[in-house]
């Protein structure tokens, strides 16, 4: 796997400082508005969602801070405030609002945030190849057989109730497992953030980085599998 080196310190500042105002051509030092002519500046499509919202690439984010920042920028970019402005500004306002909404939706949910960070850090999901959890798959497929049996027995209550009890207990076990995975993920998130905060460039840090990303990937994937079968269980037995 190749190692991307992502500097964590202020990529936005750098990027912004080098960009020019589309309107007055002066250097833009502020966040999204030109200091001189006060025109709104387009959010670069290359900007990642963390940078877009002014957060470092961490997996633990203060929800209230995130929300506050989102509302701030929402107001700043909102198309309603650009109705009397030029066409160029209206276009920027629309583009920025769309980007901001996507960024916020992605970062607000811890699981989606982690999926997104994996994409940024390791390319596509496929980059981190882990062997499929064969035992979990067998379990899921077996459970699905039982679910089908239960559905088929729909009108015969005497066949239904033992199956129902079995499915109910499976459901409890799987829901517990999903919670366990989420706890593990929380722990890995903290480990990731601590590693980033230390910002070391040693081999050891790189190995640690890959280990954490791989484990996050594994837990996220397995959680999705478990979550799917749980929701199937819930919708079938109610």
């Amino acid at each position: 796997m190749d190692h991307h080196t992502h500097s964590t310190a202020g990529p936005r500042e750098l990027q912004m400082a080098r960009s020019m105002c589309w309107h007055c051509q002066s250097e833009v030092a502020g966040e999204y508005f030109c200091d001189r002519c006060v025109k709104v500046q387009p959010v670069s499509k290359e900007l990642d969602y963390f940078t877009c919202l002014g957060f470092p690439r961490r997996l633990t984010i203060d929800q209230r801070q995130l929300e506050a920042k989102f509302y701030d920028l929402s107001r700043a970019f909102h198309p309603d405030f650009y109705q009397n402005k030029s066409a160029a500004e209206q276009t920027i306002s629309l583009g920025n609002s769309a980007m901001l909404n996507t960024a916020y939706r992605t970062l607000r949910d811890p699981i989606e945030r982690a999926e997104y960070l994996l994409d940024l850090e390791a390319g596509s999901v496929k980059e981190i190849r882990n062997s499929p959890p064969a035992e979990l798959f067998e379990e899921i497929l077996e459970l699905q057989d039982t679910l089908n049996e239960y559905r088929a027995a729909g009108r015969a209550p005497e066949a239904e109730s033992p199956l129902r009890a079995k499915l109910q207990s499976e459901r409890n076990i799987l829901e517990q497992r999903q919670r366990d995975m989420e706890t593990t993920l929380q722990r890995l998130f903290v480990q990731w953030d601590a590693l980033q905060d230390r910002g070391e460039a040693t081999d050891q840090a790189r190995i640690e980085r890959d280990r954490i990303l791989k484990q996050i990937r594994e837990n996220l994937s397995n959680r999705t599998y478990v979550k799917n079968i749980v929701s199937d269980l819930v919708s079938t037995i109610g």
């Binding site: 999901v125 798959f137 899921i140 497929l141 999705t224 599998y225 799917n228």
Partner: protein, 132 residues
């Protein structure tokens, strides 16, 4: 979004649903999953004299994933190992008329075929039974 008639047909009447015993002679098992959507697919082949004489699948996932694996087992039957290697996800997309958002289901089916073939090969190399 509506499923194509062929997908609906495979979904309602899946071909070759079920499984073989994993350790049975000549059986190759492919077990794959799509972490993005949580679909799980198990595809098995039974090989005699280099030809796939039977195939079975079990899939936990959406209609397109079920149809893709059902179609795959239909296609596998009667093919030689070499011919089976050539099945591509794009063939499945075409046959089932899968929309772009469902292409990953056909990729999963291709992965399952490849995994089953590899598993068979591994077992065959290990035992040296199964002449040729």
């Amino acid at each position: 979004m509506a499923y194509s008639d062929k997908v609906v047909d495979h979904f309602n009447n899946p071909r070759n649903m079920g499984s073989f015993k994993k350790d049975e002679e000549g059986v190759g098992t492919g077990m794959v999953g799509a972490p993005e959507c949580g679909d799980v697919m198990k595809l098995q082949i039974k090989v005699q004299n280099d030809t796939i004489v039977d195939a079975k699948f079990k899939t936990f996932g959406c209609g397109s994933a079920i149809a893709s694996s059902s179609l795959a087992t239909e296609w596998l039957k009667g093919k030689t190992i070499e011919e089976a290697q050539k099945i591509k996800n794009t063939d499945i997309v075409q046959e089932l008329n899968l929309p772009p958002v469902k292409i990953h289901c056909s990729v999963l089916a291709e992965d399952a075929i490849k995994a089953a073939l590899a598993d068979y090969q591994k077992k065959a190399d290990g035992t040296l039974t199964n002449a040729k």
